[in-house]
Symmetry: C2
Subunit: 351 residues, 2 copies
């Protein structure tokens, strides 16, 4: 079921009185307690969460923190390369990490549909446990709501995250400066196309897998090269095109993309062509875009190439003085085309 390697033999679904989620599992009574005790605490437990207070009290050693929230509604909830639970951990870890912060603590809020198989929730909780461990973060606060059948689609997950920002780091979408280089950590459009190609009416065979991954380890490597990263973001919904447009507008600069530098895997490119979708607009869940001064760009890429999640890193463009607020890509023919913000919704419920 899950692509994340989950061993249900060594960690089977605990014996419970019901096989599926009941409204009472969200009511705060005995069944709520049962769900927390048997499904969540064994997976997420730590000295803070185990207290079962309504809030986590945390010791924060430094005084600048990053705080972020994201809700996950991806459909289907299991897709090649991952599932909604893993995505919910990695997505929020990444949003914290993109500020240069070290992610430390997460909260998790579930909305469950009455009738959801408990085994599904168990597998998702297992994936979340594994993803949180890999990223080195603790789940310290949680909430579960159950809605009646038909009032949500299986389950939705909100995660919020807290991290510590190093003192000298100041990463922001408004710090792009002409001459800066645009770096991408690897191939684009993997996550979005993995989800798209599994949707029922697009079931052509493909080996495309989501790239969902926690990027905080890669960010640490990058900050060791230089703390002076100007801007950084993970190009999720709306893809690389949207992130770069936001950068260009917020810094009031132009962005020039090199024509043939943006890495796209062969299968992904094929699927995009079949569906008529530009990979620059497709969601990624384990990639980052960094904007750095040209003097450190080569060193930065070199360091990234040595990390598993940066092994296809490359410089894909630069910040320019003209075309303020606009992203331009040179085509193979030497013509410039404007990479605008997407207007409609190509890929609903991708994350």
């Amino acid at each position: 079921m899950a692509d994340f390697d989950i061993d249900l033999m060594s960690c089977p679904l605990p014996k419970m009185d019901y096989d599926t989620i009941q409204l009472a599992h969200g009511a705060g009574g005995k069944l709520s307690a049962d769900l927390i005790d048997k499904i969540f605490i064994p997976r997420f437990g730590n000295e803070t969460l185990d207290k079962l207070e309504d809030q986590a009290v945390l010791n924060i050693p430094k005084n600048k923190i990053a705080f972020t929230t994201d809700t996950f509604v991806v459909d289907p909830i299991f897709f090649p390369g991952g599932n909604i639970g893993e995505l919910a951990i990695n997505g929020t870890v990444n949003d914290v990490a993109m500020s240069g912060a070290k992610p430390l603590y997460l909260s998790v809020g579930f909305i469950l549909e009455e009738g959801l198989p408990l085994e599904t929730l168990h597998i998702i909780a297992l994936s979340m446990e594994k993803a949180a461990k890999q990223a080195g973060v603790k789940i310290v606060a949680g909430d579960t709501k159950v809605v009646n059948r038909g009032s949500c689609d299986k389950l939705f997950i909100n995660t919020s995250g807290i991290g510590i920002v190093p003192n000298n780091v100041n990463i922001s979408a408004n710090r792009l400066t002409p001459g800066d280089k645009i770096i991408i950590s690897g191939s684009v459009a993997d996550h979005g196309m993995a989800v798209m190609t599994t949707r029922e009416d697009l079931s052509f065979k493909s080996k495309i897998k989501s790239d969902t991954a926690a990027l905080n380890g890669l960010v640490e490597v990058m900050l060791n090269i230089s703390e002076d990263i100007h801007a950084m973001r993970d190009p999720t919904r709306g893809g690389v095109a949207t992130t770069l447009n936001e950068f260009a507008k917020q810094s009031d600069v132009g962005i020039q993309l090199y024509s043939d530098k943006i890495p796209v895997k062969h299968d992904v490119k094929g699927a995009c062509e079949v569906l008529g979708i530009d990979p620059l607009y497709v969601a990624n869940e384990g990639k980052l875009i960094a904007v750095v001064g040209s003097e450190i760009a080569e060193n930065m890429v070199e360091a990234m190439l040595k990390h598993e999640l940066g092994k296809n890193a490359s410089i894909i463009g630069e910040v320019v003085n003209d075309n303020k607020g606009i992203v331009v890509q040179q085509t193979g023919l030497g013509v410039n085309r404007i990479i605008d913000l997407p207007v409609g919704e190509q890929l609903p419920r991708i994350c």
Copy 2:
């Protein structure tokens, strides 16, 4: 529509290209930007949120913080005395405040159903703005997802919150000590019965209003009397009965409730009788239970009585040595009855 006094004349829905939520409003592109610029930033804007980064970077002056999350799925989204937006602000402010912390920052995650009228979202955002101002908290991070029609019920809201815990405060469900007094800040069951009596098939006339309110101001008054509050919680889902059971179990003590001390408003009591529901099990959204040493209990109540949200505060019971883990209420006849955790779901989607 909203009970919270919203002046749409002075703050009308901005002119937008659509009247209802489209899938593209959640896609991260132009329509997403439009929604953020016209509906959310005018309501929630502040120097942190306006940066439109994927995470808020916050200066935290002290080193112990409270962190909490809660998802709101209340049905209907407008009810007498409030709406889902106001509830989402107050609920998370209260969860932070119950640790004795001063709530400072909130994140907001929306799940919107395609087709939701923009005016509904606008009114809810206005209520949230007002509630956040009243509570003195800033919304510093946000996320919006849109799901296709039928995949959620109108809208759900997750809020996560951060606050600063004063150094000498140590409030916890495991600090109840025999002899301690149980204080409630006012009448019980208002919120739950306000929602129940508005559900379609229970439309008997009543004047019951939700008690939704931010309790951080009251908590400040209480901490001024003594920082040594042993335990504190807002009895939301599952009501007073559930909160006290959790306290009794986590501290391994008994709780004895006085028979006639629990304040229930006349209309609320009537509605509970008609529906066959015990008010002790019904959700509150603007009440707190505090457990304090007997030597300070009277002073604490006296101070609470002077605050708008504590004007019906009273001592409703005490912590005892016997009946460990159990909550007992003396009935009018002098017989003890056990107030157990609720087993089923009496009131789905109450918050």
